[in-house]
Subunit: 335 residues, 2 copies
């Protein structure tokens, strides 16, 4: 164990893209656990769209990270020293931590990882910590898709989107994904089994949706907001559902972002639009993990980790989320 | 019975306000009922915000009225001749008809009116046909308000809005209404028992909402869309609900209407926004009528009909909906 701790601290609120001076990587001392705490070494850092929200001083679902505080993140690590009776050195833990090599944890924010046999820690962390339950509860609880319905998902080659489409298929729905490169479109159709894919950067999205969804859209799982949301609104069927998981198209906006012009479709088609975060379903995680694990073992669900290396790469890697320069679950391996 | 039938026919799609040449009043012959139909004389015509939608060639929840067809409306009348075994001359009926003195009905669109003792036909038609069930199901089913929560309603001195606020009070909520004149604001507070009212034409809505809703907004019952929706979005509490009943602020728009800028609050506060029309709850009408009737008898619910006279006034009267020049349920008495 090193006695130098690398910690990313938030120095500025980002404006537009995350510039180099928004976070700084500091060398600090490794903290000592107090009674009831444990010290763990971070092994994997999950990079998620919501990280950009936490950096910003905007209305959001938890307080933003305070300036000069360590950056918040979903992390996985190994306990090195414990003063909590339920945790011992060597335990693998995951939860809500910070971007630091060494950090303190308590059961309030960190729990022991359950890793099914034959699944790597990285895969289990990537799929079960946030992404899988987000897709599972967002799709199944908020939109209750029925066999034969059409489910459209944006950021479909991303971590959550790729799972949403596969669960839709498992439930007997037609799954249509939007992604930003031909390679991603090919991947979600040929590898993941989506029924159709739309390259939203190359195609006219409204026309492509009409072709891909001949019976209209029953569920639009929204990860992006913006123009894609507006195009989907226009083709929603009566009683359609729009679980709202993310609005990544506008997180980096510098000016005011216009609202969706086709909002009146909520009234005209009696739609249900509902925002959620996965923490709303924390008490039901075991159900999601069991279902996702079983689908994986049956070969019905594929999951891809897009792994990068080294603490110093954290910001550079995070930027890939907003440029679309990744496929699957974006993660950083450290230590 | 006259042998001349006055019929309002749709001649043009309206652009902006409903101009004089959008509908024309024709003198026609009274139709003869075929087997299974009955002929009725319209007594009351309900004038509703949705009438403007039916005139327009836009996406909507039922087909628009075809050009040159009689204008569609919610009507109440008296059977004068019947060739249906369940209906007889003298029966009072209500349902979805047209703007005509005499018209044909079947049980598919018209039913016999239930008028509780001591309630006039006009009041029963005004409250039970559309307005009351709309307020009842929209508020109670879609938003499930809990005692102590804050319910905000727009167009609060209108037919649906005035009932929504009173039901909110009956359920133990704080009721806050937005209306467009001081007289309307005074009426909903002093006569109907709202906790607070905001004159959205005179006051800064965001600041007034902060004062009137010190604990934030749990339910915003949306009748209007536009700037008021955006202001409410910004002050919604976690887990808030927005039943979407109407978007009247934009029905008469001629240009493109911007979407709500604060749409991201759906994600940040995990809101549920849901559109509905009362026909979705047709099978549960008796429940609403029973509850509303009982509240009226107990003096907990007040209902005001704003009645105008004569077929020739139909269009002029309808325009009052969009100019805000009415209080309570707008209706026309004919015949």
């Amino acid at each position: 164990m090193s006695d130098v701790n690398q910690v990313w601290r938030l120095r500025k609120r980002p404006v537009g893209e995350i510039a180099d001076d928004v976070l700084s990587l500091e060398k600090e001392t490794v903290p000592e656990p107090a009674e009831g705490q444990f010290l763990f070494r971070m092994n994997y850092l999950s990079l998620d769209p919501t990280n950009r929200i936490w950096m910003s001083d905007m209305d959001q679902y938890m307080p933003p990270v305070a300036l000069n505080d360590p950056m918040r993140g979903v992390v996985c690590g190994t306990v090195v020293k414990s003063r909590h009776p339920d945790f011992a050195a060597g335990d693998v833990v995951s939860g809500l931590g910070v971007w630091a090599d060494y950090q303190l944890g308590t059961p309030a924010t960190m729990g022991k990882m359950q890793t099914p046999p034959g699944v790597s820690v990285a895969d289990a962390f990537g799929l079960f910590a946030v992404v899988g339950p987000t897709a599972y509860f967002g799709l199944l609880d908020l939109s209750e898709p029925k066999a034969g319905e059409t489910v459209v998902v944006s950021a479909a080659a991303g971590a959550v989107g790729s799972i949403v489409g596969q669960i839709a298929r498992i439930k007997g729905c037609r799954a249509v994904g939007l992604a930003g490169t031909n390679a991603k479109c090919k991947w979600i159709v040929e590898e993941l089994g989506f029924d159709a894919a739309i390259n939203y950067k190359k195609e006219n999205v409204a026309e492509a949706l009409k072709r891909a969804c001949p019976k209209g859209i029953d569920v639009y799982f929204d990860n992006v907001g913006g123009d894609i949301l507006d195009a989907c609104f226009k083709q929603m069927n009566l009683g359609g559902r729009i679980p709202t998981c993310g609005l990544i198209s506008q997180y980096n906006a510098t000016g005011e972002v216009p609202g969706p012009r086709n909002y009146p479709m909520i009234l005209m088609q009696r739609l249900k639009v509902q925002g959620f975060i996965v923490l709303d379903f924390a008490h039901r995680y075991p159900e999601a993990i069991m279902a996702l694990g079983q689908w994986m073992q049956e070969g019905k669900l594929k999951f891809k980790v897009d792994m990068y290396e080294g603490m110093e790469s954290a910001v550079k890697t995070l930027r890939r989320l907003y440029t679309g320069d990744h496929t699957g679950k974006l993660m950083l391996h450290v230590g």
